[in-house]
């Protein structure tokens, strides 16, 4: 029997916290514990992502469940000496709400309390590198039951009845896919896990692999049994080194414990699992391109049918599911399909993980039941918009999805309603935009991404997206023409209808959906040569508000191109700029010394030479008196 630890310190080791320095914190904590002689009483555990990435590095101290955020290595001393030695939580590291209220317990923080975790059930709670912790959380029990008590048909039946749909994007019913694959006649068959998470901003698959790799391994073995396959491949992108490392470790442990390999649970069922590392091309998230890449060929899609369920890897029947889909399988087997079907909405069952990003107070990973409204996600869990600004739209589904404007904030987040709004569930990226976001610019950003990532095999995607991007660029640079919007719509719908694979078929979505909801912004760019959000550099200009300007010269000194010049009052009046300022000065002068204009009369007024200005915005940032306006 091992040592009994009276406390566990769980340090988040998700990639987000790793980049904010959790490793150094962990080292400091361990050395401080050793110094105080507490290393035999207190265990430090590195877990997967806890979800609250903007608060990182985060940690939780059990048994009290005290949550610390933004911990620096130098805080380790206080945590050990005050909290762990004397039982006094370190107040300055606790979570504060926007009302400055201090919350000690993780479960009392809205961000965590309002979630429902199925996929992320173990992330941030167990040590992903210790298989026994996964087993303690009912791990591999589902596999044991599948192998010893259920027939493959029963397994498929449970998955079908649960109503689980693919979490990778399209939302195809998982049970149906399993059934097709089970019925396919070719041998051998393969089980593949698509962990090529490519949407910018989405990182739920990475978090599952980093925080709970065994859940994917177990589910793949279950799938293998269900369809009659003995070989699995996990396709992960090379940009996820930590996920690869933890998955490798987990696979090795599973082999050690006899949960992979030959004769699992003494039932004669064999299952082998290998990792295939991809180079990170977006198109390799498309299933046929992914299979080509596993085979060692260039990652390019091919027409379907034949579907991979019949002709996949090396022409053999292949089951492909996404990481998040697999992570749902063990709980469905253990708790029954009725339990899973009881979560969510009529057509979208279970939960969905969303990656919150953009102009939102709490960024990170959240899991909620399907059908939760966008408003609940953005305001109740996400804590609302940064800086008290107004919500403008949310982009779901990354570069393949579309935007949901403010009037649809109460839309339930489920597959079919999102499609009706011109967006899609996609992998669950949720980028929140505030009133300072230009929708034309954002559409251009996403199209730029898909254009770069287009594999070039089919013409609609290769040439069509380029043509669309050229038009968008033209519009944002103030060279938009009448008819451009209609042309974009025409091109977009044509590409959707004719492109070979999902990448091309969805690439126009961001453009089409922003035109649908924010057509007036496109029109303002084209007709008035104006960017309403003040983002498109070519369409904005900066000017000095003479009535607020103190003539301190700070802007003039900071301007990188010397575009801010001195002038005279007379010139100002003649130019018609800042006439109001001049009037005020005149008025001030007549009222005596006390109400003299704030600006020094000895200094000359300043103005921005528009020809020289490069619109970098430095002057606006530097000005202490809000005397520079962008319009």
């Amino acid at each position: 029997m091992g040592v009994l630890y009276r406390a566990h310190v769980l340090v988040c080791g998700g990639a987000g916290c790793v980049s904010s320095g959790c490793r150094a914190v962990q080292e400091a904590l361990k050395s401080e514990l050793a110094k105080q002689g507490l290393d035999k009483e207190i265990k430090v555990v590195e877990t997967g992502c806890m979800g609250s990435c903007d608060l990182g590095p985060v940690m939780v101290v059990y048994p009290e469940g005290v949550f610390y955020r933004k911990v620096r290595p130098e805080d380790a001393r206080d945590i050990v000496q005050e909290h762990l030695l004397k039982g006094r939580p370190v107040e300055r590291l606790l979570y504060h709400t926007s009302q400055r209220e201090i919350i000690q317990q993780m479960e009392d923080i809205d961000f965590f309390a309002k979630q429902r975790k199925v996929v992320l059930r173990n992330c941030g709670i167990i040590d992903p590198e210790d298989i026994t912790e996964y087993i303690a959380r009912d791990g591999y029990e589902a596999l044991a039951r599948v192998l010893t008590e259920m027939t493959p048909e029963e397994v498929i039946d449970v998955v079908k009845k649960s109503g689980l749909r693919g979490r990778g994007g399209a939302g195809f019913p998982t049970g149906l896919k399993w059934e097709f694959c089970a019925k396919a006649t070719g041998r051998p068959k393969y089980v593949v896990c698509n962990a090529d998470e490519g949407d910018p901003g989405a990182f739920m698959d990475r978090s599952v692999l980093e925080g709970d790799p065994h859940s994917v391994i177990e589910a793949m073995a279950i799938a293998g049994r269900a369809i009659g396959s003995n070989q699995g491949f996990v396709y992960v992108r090379a940009e996820y080194p930590l996920a690869i490392q933890r998955l490798k470790h987990a696979i090795a442990q599973a082999y050690d414990y006899g949960l992979l390999g030959k004769d699992i649970f003494g039932t004669g069922f064999d299952f082998d699992l290998e990792i295939r590392v991809g180079a990170g091309a977006f198109v390799c998230g498309e299933e046929t391109a992914l299979l080509a890449s596993i085979e060692g060929k260039r990652g390019m899609p091919r027409p379907r049918p034949p579907f991979p369920a019949n002709e996949g890897l090396w022409g053999k029947p292949t089951l492909i599911n996404n990481v998040e889909t697999y992570a749902n399988i063990p709980p469905i087997i253990l708790n029954g399909w009725e339990w899973f079907a009881g979560i969510g909405t009529e057509k979208s069952k279970g939960t969905k993980v969303f990656a919150l990003a953009g102009k939102i107070a709490n960024t990170g990973l959240v899991e909620v039941p399907m059908g939760t409204t966008l408003r609940e996600i953005v305001y109740d869990i996400g804590g609302g918009i940064l800086g008290g600004k107004k919500f403008k739209a949310a982009q779901t589904g990354g570069p393949s999805g579309g935007c949901i404007p403010a009037e649809h904030l109460d839309t339930p987040m489920e597959y079919d309603t999102l499609v009706k709004l011109g967006a899609m569930m996609g992998s669950g990226g949720l980028i929140v935009m505030d009133e300072g976001t230009c929708m034309v610019d954002i559409a251009k950003f996403f199209l730029q991404f898909t254009q770069d990532e287009s594999c070039g095999k089919c013409i609609p995607c290769r040439e069509g997206t380029r043509a669309m991007l050229d038009i968008l660029t033209r519009i944002t640079e103030g060279r938009g023409r009448e008819g451009d919007i209609e042309l974009l719509e025409h091109l977009g719908t044509t590409i959707k209808d004719t492109a070979l694979c999902g990448l091309g078929q969805t690439a126009p979505n961001p453009v089409l959906s922003t035109i649908r909801y924010f057509r007036h912004e496109y029109e303002a760019h084209i007709r008035e040569k104006r960017c309403p959000a003040g983002v498109c550099a070519a369409l904005v200009h900066y000017e000095i508000l003479q009535d607020k300007c103190k003539r301190c010269g700070l802007c003039r000194r900071s301007c990188p191109v010397d575009a801010i010049e001195e002038t005279t009052e007379a010139e100002l009046v003649a130019a018609g700029v800042g006439a109001a300022g001049a009037d005020m000065q005149a008025a001030g002068a007549s009222q005596g010394a006390i109400s003299q204009p704030a600006s020094s009369p000895k200094r000359k007024p300043l103005f921005i030479n528009q020809e020289r200005c490069i619109k970098c915005g430095v002057c606006m940032r530097e000005c202490r008196f809000q005397a520079i306006n962008r319009c």
Binding site: M1, G2, V3, L4, Y5, R6, A7, H8, L10, E41, Y62, P63, E64, G65, L85, K86, G87, R88, I125, I126, T132, E133, I135, A136, R137, D138, G139, Y140, E141, A144, R145, T148, Y257, G258, L259, I264, F265, G266
Partner: protein, 116 residues
């Protein structure tokens, strides 16, 4: 892994470890050691270690040992609260490391208030 039984056994064993995190198990009792300055001066830390030692000796894993900085008014330190399910709290004052053995044994094994 040969059988379901083997997995079950491994699971029960592993759950003992995770009880501290409030997951995967039932908590028989929580020992709260008061770590105010008076408590520390009177040897609360030794009492805490004695509790851990005793639990380990008895092979008891479904208990939690925590600390608090709140001291009871006018109670003779070191103070230990024993909280059992149903929120019954027994407060022991002037606990010595030797007395811990009796408290642990009687509150857990015999489920009664220890006379120390």
């Amino acid at each position: 892994m040969r059988s379901l039984a083997e997995l079950e056994q491994l699971k029960r064993h592993a759950q003992k470890e995770l009880g501290v995190r409030g997951i995967g198990g039932y908590c028989r009792a929580t020992f709260i050691v008061h770590m105010g300055t008076d408590g520390i001066a009177a040897g609360a830390r030794e009492v805490l270690l004695a509790i851990l030692d005793e639990l380990k000796r008895l092979g008891i894993h479904d208990c939690r040992v925590t600390q608090t900085d709140v001291t009871g008014f006018g109670m003779k330190p070191p103070v230990v609260d024993v909280v059992t399910p149903g929120h019954r709290v027994e407060t022991y004052t002037g606990v010595s490391p030797e007395g811990v053995r009796k408290i642990v044994a009687e509150s857990l094994v015999e489920s009664r208030v220890a006379a120390v």
